[in-house]
């Protein structure tokens, strides 16, 4: 269970302070799939970095299962938008990196890795380097690398955005089946409303930058869900319209601002800070 208590985050000092998240509070219930949806550059990725513990909020705090987040930990693993597989390690070496780094029992790790390789259909690509895998295979390898550590919370930041339409559809249905099998708290970030409605038990609609919660919609569509059945399901479409009208308004607002999306500014600013 993740709880954000009036979290604010801004980058830069003095005149150049750029508020990215403004008093944002929400709860992601335990063993449920919570989806955060909002315009690009609104600060969703920043919120993920705060929950994962890579950065600290300027104000407010984030609790996971009651205890405050102080730094990265194996209970909260993140899957980024672009692949974060280690290019110089083979698929198998990538997957077993976590347990080996924590010096866990080798036999146990090897068997779990074998199970996950079969489950993700990557057994044939075991010895290949990430650069030699297709987009879909890279995503599945990264999922396996996280799941072997059995995290309480799985965080995914628009993981399927770069994939072509067909692979994206396959990966989405694969992920839904996976999350329905083993109960785990999932936090999924996207700008695609169809993805959100397919996955979400709870849908949190975020405003344009500076990000704050615009609406929380509990999605109680029956499980297991499939993309083409949702297309014809009127309840799903009603939900989609409700979320879409909020999102459209926020997107126009983010767009009316016109200048560089806040996201790009933050990224550039963080890199310059690192360089100083």
């Amino acid at each position: 269970m993740i709880e954000a208590k009036s979290v604010s985050k801004s980058y830069g000092a003095g005149r150049f302070a750029k508020p990215v998240i403004a008093e944002c509070s929400f709860v992601a219930p335990r063993h449920k799939c919570t989806v955060i949806v909002g315009p690009s550059g609104a600060g969703k990725s920043t919120m993920i970095r705060l929950i994962a513990g890579f950065e600290k909020p300027s104000r407010g705090e984030i609790l996971t299962d009651g205890k405050a987040v102080t730094g990265p930990g194996r209970d909260r693993l993140v899957m980024f938008q672009e692949s974060a597989l280690f290019p110089w390690m083979t698929t198998e070496q990538n997957i077993v990196y976590g347990p080996l780094a924590r010096h866990e029992r080798k036999a146990d790790t090897v068997s779990r890795a074998k199970f996950l390789l079969e489950k993700t259909g990557l057994m044939a690509a075991k010895r290949r380097y990430p650069a030699q895998l297709s987009g879909g295979m890279q995503r599945r390898a990264e999922l396996a690398r996280s799941l072997i550590n059995d995290p309480e919370i799985m965080i995914l930041d628009e993981p399927f955005r770069g994939l072509d339409a067909m692979t994206k559809k396959l990966m989405l249905e694969y992920y839904v089946k996976l999350s329905e099998e083993t109960p785990r708290t999932n936090l999924f970030v996207t700008t695609d409303i169809d993805e959100a409605i397919l996955l979400a038990d709870r849908l949190i609609v975020m405003s344009a930058a500076p990000m704050r919660v615009r609406a929380v919609i509990d999605v109680d569509l029956p499980r297991p869900r499939e993309l083409h059945t949702l297309l014809r399901d009127d309840a799903a479409n009603a939900l989609k319209l409700e979320a879409l009208s909020l999102l459209h308004e926020e997107a126009m607002k983010a767009f009316a601002g016109g200048s560089r999306a806040a996201g790009d500014f933050i990224e550039a600013y963080r890199k310059r800070l690192a360089a100083v």
Partner: protein, 278 residues
């Protein structure tokens, strides 16, 4: 049909054929493709990735020639027997997938580039007209920014204004909103429709996103997997002007299901062919 029913922009492609590669690796990319696009129509070309849609667009633009068949614009032959490759010209302007605004010119100079290059307008006149067009498109205030300084959504709109500055007969769009996230895309769609309502220009739009095709198009042409050939044409009878609320209307969902059925087995075929996006 379009509100303004202009007289120009009829693009007629009849059994265009195009091969790729040399010798043994010579593969057929476009296979006897015949397509009639009416003046002032938004025609959406949909098909699985790598099926040859862009090859067709490049032939219309004149970036490469055809091995057979011909293309006519308002009954003037662009390319055909005797003249395999069309001449590149400002009557058919391409907006590229990852954008092609000159990063070293300000947005204003980018837009003013066309008429100045064709020696139709002097630099000062072109800049004034460009500023005017930017204001119409709601881009006032970004005249002196460089393309690298504005968001990707805004860059797309500046590029379309740069195309419209040359008063083209046809606008050739090659998956212009592919790199954008879903929400920015919906805002882009409304901006494009707004521009269309003002200019009534014929639009030849390539995409693999069905929702985008049905939301924007008067007609959606579904292409086969490689080599591409029109397989099915869907008339989108949702009236213009359209906005995001139609996305959940019953008619829209029916059309989407119909298009999805058309594309599905083609997508599987091309997926089997090992075609996958970059």
């Amino acid at each position: 049909m379009s509100i303004l029913a202009p007289s120009r922009g009829a693009l007629r492609i009849d059994n265009a054929v195009k091969y790729y590669g040399e010798g043994s690796a010579r593969t057929l990319a476009v296979d006897h493709c015949t397509l009639d696009i009416r003046p002032g129509e938004i025609c959406m070309i949909v098909g699985p990735s790598g099926c040859g849609k862009t090859t067709l667009l490049n032939a219309v633009a004149g970036f490469h020639g055809l091995d057979d068949g011909s293309i006519h614009l308002d009954n003037k032959m662009l390319c055909g027997p005797g003249q395999p490759q069309a001449a590149v010209g400002p009557d058919r302007i391409v907006v590229f997938q990852n954008g092609a605004l000159f990063p070293w010119m300000t947005n204003l100079d980018n837009i003013a580039f066309g008429p100045v290059a064709q020696k139709r307008l002097r630099r000062a006149e072109a800049r004034d007209k460009a500023a005017q067009l930017m204001r119409d498109a709601g881009l006032a205030g970004h005249e002196f920014a460089y393309p690298g300084e504005i968001s990707s959504g805004l860059r797309r709109r500046v590029e379309i204004v740069r195309a419209l500055m040359n008063d083209p007969t046809v606008l050739l769009l090659d998956e212009p909103y592919r790199a954008l996230d879903a929400l920015t895309k919906s805002v882009m769609h409304e901006a494009l429709l707004e521009t269309y309502y003002r200019t009534g220009i014929t639009i030849f739009f390539i995409t693999h996103d069905l929702e985008e095709a049905i939301f924007l198009g008067h007609r959606v042409v579904i292409m086969t997997a490689r080599p591409c050939k029109p397989k099915k044409i869907i008339e989108v009878d949702i009236p213009h002007p359209r906005d995001y609320t139609i996305l959940t209307s019953k008619r829209f969902r029916e059309l989407l299901a119909e298009a999805d059925a058309g594309v599905h087995d083609e997508a599987l075929k091309s997926f089997a062919l090992g075609e996958r996006e970059g």
